[in-house]
Structures are given as structure tokens and as C-alpha cells.
């Protein structure tokens, strides 16, 4: 049982913590501490609420009949089900986003940049809901798809990959490894969905190019009406709002939302963990909210500062996005006037970031050569967002620093990028301390290359594209390269799903905080041994308390192939 002593690394956020306490406003950190200790059974994956004969637990410390759920789910099945449940939700999230987007395009809300391609991709997306089209899978190297076919986890469509996988939670006679394979299968559908979303975005809005953005609270403006877009909702609606906002001199920024929708930018004002803070600056007049990534607590903070909330994902969906956007702008302007008396407290903290690299804007061959020539130790794919269980941003920043120093090329995405951006890692003008080999590689990639390359928003398949593009240079597959994925501060079910498909693609993944499977020795074993055998990669469940430096050392060691990381505490990792 512990609570984080230091809440955040972000000096823009820190002063507001005291302010919140003084004004009696509860933030994520207060509620987290109030929840402690969190249920040990659930944390260990030893609980289940899938039916009404429960809720059941597997009691790790008693004998007798309390070790198995009422229906017979053993502690190992309970553990792997805890994982499956998260992946099912995560895959649904990716599917939700891509189908939403496709429907908006189909409805003719926007004219795609490349119509023919768009139509094609929409057909591919429709295929997800029937049978995944073979052309879609051609993006993956054959050894991968063959392996997936051989193990039975090849993506087929929602009927099998999602619905059938979900039924594993309802009962049945099976094994941990089998259930784990279903979990991988389900996650792969999410992978396909998110890649298609990337492609759709490009073909509709045009290819994103690396764009300079300013991030953090300091970018908020007090002189003009300010709208923040929170979480995920229709890119088309976002564009409409941005279009109008430009005309009407309204500032549009974002929190936990895609920063780059060409030609518009939704600059990240803060990262996930501190999403309540922008409202406390007083400079925000209106927020448009999605569901995924959005804290219900925003309501209470908004009330304190008289901020208007407009939910975008409502039962009665706006028929006409243009009209909806107009209404939002009007409301924002009104709110700005009403709120003019409210004092604005905007910290002068901001940072520049070059975001939005993609597979075609980076020379993959140079990277492959650097790997082969041992100029760099390998590549770390940084993902995840913030988790209140860690000091905000601390893990990812510390680990990124170590990786850079040790000649590990870092590729980041989504919220992970936003965290790193706040500290200058994505700023081409700033020289973070990088190893010689890495510096040389970065220099060779272009004029203004930041120390870490952001490959776009997490729900778009930028990083996956990167991976596939890299491996296609030598027609190899990911497991043949020293690449790892690292989630230093993960929290969403979408993160779990992503971790699973990353492993299925042959990239070993480190995930913090540890997945809720620690009560099941068989699941723990399967995530290492069975995955290593099947995919050539492992999903590391690390329970030992260690500081970020130690974590980085561990990751770097694994890149060097110093495998069999000896964590002496358990026999299975």
C-alpha cells in the first residue's frame, strides 16, 4: 500500500494542486488516495463479476473451497480472463473510432482528399464487420500472417475476433494458453482497425507532415474565447469546429485528442493525468467532450470555473455537423463574455514540439543500417499515457533519458508523446543527451530532427506503420530486430490491447503498472514462455518495485539480447 508522494513532474501543474486543496476541489490524486488500498483480489486478477452467482474471488491465502469461482473458474482462468476482459474493451474502442470515422465520411460530411482511395479503405473497414479483406492483411509480413494462421489467431472479423472471444468469459472448458490465444486474436482485430483509421485519415485529410506545435498550459490564451476538445470524438466534427473557430477568432486546443488533423492543429494543453487542471486556469470557456479518455470529474471542476461542457457523443447525434459546430462556437463566445470577470491564471510553461512523423517522412533504411551496423542498440516504442499510480510523467521521462543516453532510438505516440513533448524531447532545437550512435542517426535523418520521433496519435496506426515499414526494408519480421515496446505509465484498456498485438507481432513489451494477472502463475508463465515460443516475444509483467532508472536498465539489457532477465523474485520471468 502506497501512495505517490510527489504527484507530478510537470511544473505547470504543480501550483494548481495547492490551489485545488485550498478550494476544496478533488482531483485524481485525492480520489486515488481515498481508494487505497485498492482491492487486492482485483489487482491480482483473482476476481470475477461476469455472472450473478458471484461476485467471486480466488482467495490466495485460504485453503478449501474459496480458491475457485462458483462456476469453477480456477485462479489461472480468473487471471487470464482479467486480461481478456480488458482486451475485449480495448478492441471495441479501436473499432468504435474507425467505424465512427468511416460513417461520417460515408455520410458525405467532408470531401476526401483522395476519393478513390477513401472508398477503398471504407470497404476495408466494412470488412472488419464481416470478414477481414485479404488486401488489408497484406500490410503485414508473411511470416507474421502465416504464424497467426498457424496458431489460429489470424484476424477474421468481429464475429470471431470480438464476439466469440468475449464468450470465453462466459464459461467453457479451456486452458490458459488457449484463452490467451483468443485474447491475442481479439487484439489483432484492434490492430487492423487502428491501421485502417490511419489510412482513412490520410486519404481523407491528406498526409500529415511533421508539424511544429506548442504544448502545455502556457499556450492557453486569455484574450480570446478558448475551446478545448477532450478525448476522442469524430475527426470530422473536430475539423468543422476548427474551421469555424478560425473564422471567428476562437482558440481551439485539445487534451487527449489527436493533435494533427490537417490542416488543423489541436495543440495539447496538458497530458492525461492532469486533465482537470486546464479548467482551473480560468482561461477555458467551453469544452467539447468525447468518452474515451475523459474524466467525469471534469464536470465538478467545470462548475467551479463556470466552464460550459458540450458532450459530443450523445444519443441524439447531430445530423448536421456544420450546425453543431456553429452552435458550439456561439456558445463559446457567449461563455467568454460571461466569464470575463473570472481571473485567469496561466502558468508560463510551454514547450515546442515537432510532431507527426510517419513512415514516409522517415528514412527507414538509415535506421535499419544503424541497427545492423551496431550504431544504435535498438528501438524503443514508447506508448501509454499517465497513471496516477506514478508521479505524472516521471517514469516515461526518466526512461526516455536513459534510452537516449544509451543509443536507443525512441519512437513515441499519442499521450506518451504529449508527456515527452512537455519536457522538450520532441523539440528539434533542444539537444537532449544522446549517445553518439543515436546522435549520428538522428542527424542523418534530416535537418531538424528532435531526439524522439512522434508518430502520431495512438489510435492511428502510426507506430505500427513504422514497424511494418522498417521491417519491409530487408523483408524481415519485427522479432528479428532489437525492438521493444515500453508502456511506462499505461492505464486504458486500449493500452492493454495494443500491448497484446505488439507482442503478437514479435515485439517484446514492457508494461507498467503490472497487468492484473499476478494471481495466476500459469498466465504469468504463458506471457513469457508461451509467448516467446509462439511469437518470439514476451509480455513482461513486472511486479518488483523499482525506480525508472532500474527499469530502463532492464529494458536496455533486453534489447542487447541479454535475455532471461533475472528477476530473482519469481520463477517465471
Amino acid at each position: 500500500m502506497e501512495f505517490i508522494q510527489k504527484k507530478t513532474n510537470d511544473r505547470a501543474v504543480e501550483p494548481f494542486l495547492l490551489k485545488a486543496e485550498e478550494r476544496g476541489i478533488s482531483l485524481v490524486w485525492d480520489r486515488y488516495e481515498g481508494q487505497l488500498p485498492e482491492c487486492g483480489f482485483c489487482e491480482s486478477g483473482l476476481s470475477c463479476r461476469d455472472c450473478l452467482q458471484g461476485p467471486c474471488i480466488s482467495h490466495p491465502f485460504r485453503e478449501d473451497q474459496s480458491k475457485v469461482g462458483v462456476c469453477g473458474k480456477s485462479k489461472d482462468i480468473l487471471g487470464v480472463h482479467s486480461l481478456l476482459r480488458l482486451v475485449v474493451k480495448g478492441t471495441m474502442a479501436y473499432l468504435d473510432q474507425v467505424i465512427d470515422f468511416a460513417k461520417d465520411i460515408e455520410a458525405g460530411e467532408v470531401s476526401p482528399a483522395n476519393k478513390a482511395q477513401t472508398d477503398e479503405i471504407i470497404k476495408h473497414i466494412q470488412g472488419l464487420f464481416g470478414t477481414v479483406r485479404p488486401e488489408v492483411m497484406e500490410a503485414f509480413p508473411e511470416p507474421l500472417t502465416n504464424r497467426w494462421k498457424a496458431t489460429g489467431i489470424y484476424p477474421e472479423g468481429i464475429a470471431r475476433d470480438l464476439f466469440k472471444a468475449s464468450q470465453k468469459l462466459e464459461g467453457g472448458i479451456t486452458s490458459v494458453n488457449d484463452t490467451l490465444l483468443w485474447t491475442f486474436k481479439c487484439s489483432l482485430l484492434g490492430c487492423v482497425a487502428h491501421m485502417l483509421q490511419e489510412k482513412l485519415k490520410s486519404s481523407v485529410f491528406g498526409n500529415a507532415v511533421p508539424t511544429e506545435i506548442e504544448v502545455n498550459l502556457g499556450i492557453l490564451q486569455k484574450e480570446i474565447p478558448t475551446i478545448l476538445l477532450y478525448g476522442h470524438f469524430s475527426p470530422v466534427l473536430k475539423q468543422k469546429i476548427a474551421e469555424l473557430a478560425e473564422k471567428k477568432s476562437v482558440s481551439i486546443m485539445g487534451v487527449c485528442t489527436d493533435p494533427l488533423l490537417p490542416p488543423y492543429i489541436f495543440a495539447p494543453v496538458t497530458s492525461y493525468g492532469s486533465q482537470e487542471i486546464p479548467l482551473m486556469t480560468g482561461a477555458v470557456d467551453l469544452i467539447v467532450t468525447g468518452d474515451q479518455y475523459v474524466n467525469p470529474s471534469l464536470q465538478d471542476v467545470a462548475r467551479e470555473w463556470n466552464v460550459t461542457i458540450v458532450p459530443a457523443e450523445v444519443l441524439e447525434r447531430a445530423q448536421d455537423f456544420g450546425r453543431f459546430a456553429e452552435q458550439i462556437i456561439v456558445q463559446a463566445k457567449k461563455a467568454f463574455d460571461t466569464r470575463s470577470g473570472i481571473s485567469k491564471d496561466i502558468p508560463e510553461v510551454k514547450e515546442s514540439a515537432l510532431m507527426g512523423f510517419s513512415a514516409d517522412t522517415v528514412d527507414m533504411k538509415k535506421i535499419v543500417d544503424a541497427i545492423n551496423g551496431n550504431k544504435i542498440k535498438g528501438i524503443a516504442l514508447l506508448a501509454g499515457s499517465n497513471n496516477v499510480k506514478f508521479t505524472q510523467d516521471h517514469e516515461i521521462v526518466s526512461m526516455a533519458q536513459e534510452f537516449l543516453k544509451n543509443d536507443v532510438l525512441c519512437i513515441s505516440e499519442g499521450e506518451a508523446s504529449v508527456s515527452l513533448a512537455k519536457y522538450g524531447f520532441l523539440n528539434p532545437q533542444l539537444e537532449m543527451e544522446c549517445g553518439k550512435g543515436l546522435s549520428a542517426l538522428l542527424a542523418s535523418l534530416g535537418e531538424d530532427i528532435p531526439s524522439i520521433l512522434d508518430f502520431g496519435y495512438a489510435q492511428n496506426g502510426g507506430v505500427t506503420e513504422f514497424l511494418l515499414s522498417l521491417t519491409s526494408v530487408e523483408k524481415k519480421e519485427p522479432k528479428e530486430y532489437p525492438i521493444v515496446a515500453v508502456f511506462p505509465e499505461a492505464n486504458r484498456s486500449m493500452d492493454v490491447t495494443k500491448a497484446m498485438w505488439t507482442v503478437a507481432m514479435g515485439v517484446s513489451t514492457f508494461f507498467w503498472p503490472f497487468l492484473p494477472v499476478t494471481g495466476s502463475p500459469k498466465t504469468m508463465e504463458a506471457l513469457t514462455d508461451f509467448c516467446k515460443e509462439t511469437f518470439g516475444s514476451k509480455l513482461h509483467v513486472i511486479t518488483g518495485k523499482m525506480d525508472a532508472r532500474t527499469k530502463s536498465t532492464m529494458v536496455i539489457k533486453s534489447l542487447k539480447g541479454e535475455n532471461e532477465l533475472h528477476l530473482d523474485d519469481h520463477p517465471w520471468s
Binding site: P37, F41, F61, P521, H570
Partner: protein
């Protein structure tokens, strides 16, 4: 003497007291993911059985377990009045188990000693009381009653 009382209306039978007692007191590693897989399995000293009520050693004023123990393993701490097992001398004869009216002594065949709550004698505060999510468990001063004859 302070004893642990349960507010029956607040106990939800969630078993967290058992879980953290085992983890914090009984286990070697004190970290849940490791404690779960320790061998021998850590033994919790509080019981949530059948009813929504966490029961542990009552630290009886006239403790039958101390009477029954043949070699002075079961003792009372003179300062706090708490009854505890001096594990190094326990020979696992289970005489104490036989006489405890509350059935809260665990004859642990894996540990080969009698396992019993000592109200977290060596800690700042009893763990079960600390972790109870609904504050059903409380530390309360025992009301003295006149001495009873055997």
C-alpha cells in the same frame, strides 16, 4: 486494553482484511504479487467466514490458550495485555486450537506453528483496521468487567 471491534452494519465481507493481514504480516515478501505465490502459503490471522464479520483473536482476559499451552509458547505481553504466540518454541501440539472458543487459532501444517492474531503487536496500528474499506473495523478500549471464576 484495546481490542478490535466490528461494526456489523458496515462489514461488506470483502475479505480485504484477510488479504492484507496475510500480505503485510504473514508473508515474507510483503508484496502482494509475490506473497500470493509464496510457499508456504502465508496464513491470515483474521477470518471472514459465512457471515459478514471479521473475527480475530479476542485477547481474552483469562485466556484458555495460555492455560492449555504445555510449554509457555502462548504468552501475554505484560504491557499491552495482548496474547501472542512465541513461535520459536511452538511444538504444534494444537492444545490451544482445541480450547479456543472462537476458533481463531490456525493449526498450520505448513508452518508447523500455531498461527494467531497478535493485534499487530509490533506495528504502529493493526493492519486489518487500517485497510478496511468501509471502516467497519475499529480499535476500541475494552470495558473492564469484574473477574470471573473458572
Amino acid at each position: 486494553m484495546e481490542v478490535i471491534m466490528v461494526d456489523q452494519e458496515k462489514c461488506t465481507g470483502c475479505h480485504q482484511c484477510e488479504l492484507w493481514c496475510a500480505n503485510e504480516i504473514a508473508s515474507v515478501s510483503k508484496e502482494l504479487p509475490l506473497a500470493i505465490n509464496e510457499d508456504p502459503q502465508p496464513v491470515p490471522r483474521v477470518y471472514v467466514e459465512g457471515k459478514r464479520f471479521a473475527l480475530q483473536c479476542r485477547h481474552c482476559l483469562d485466556a484458555p490458550c495460555i492455560t492449555a499451552c504445555p510449554n509457555g509458547t502462548m504468552r501475554r505481553d505484560p504491557e499491552s495485555g495482548l496474547v501472542f504466540v512465541n513461535e520459536p518454541t511452538c511444538i504444534a501440539c494444537w492444545m490451544c486450537v482445541m480450547v479456543c472458543p472462537f476458533g481463531i487459532i490456525n493449526p498450520s501444517s505448513s508452518l508447523k506453528v500455531a498461527v494467531k492474531c497478535d493485534r499487530c503487536r509490533n506495528m504502529e496500528f493493526p493492519i486489518c483496521v487500517e485497510v478496511c474499506p468501509t471502516n467497519a473495523l475499529k480499535l476500541v478500549e475494552r470495558k473492564e468487567v469484574p473477574e470471573i471464576n473458572l
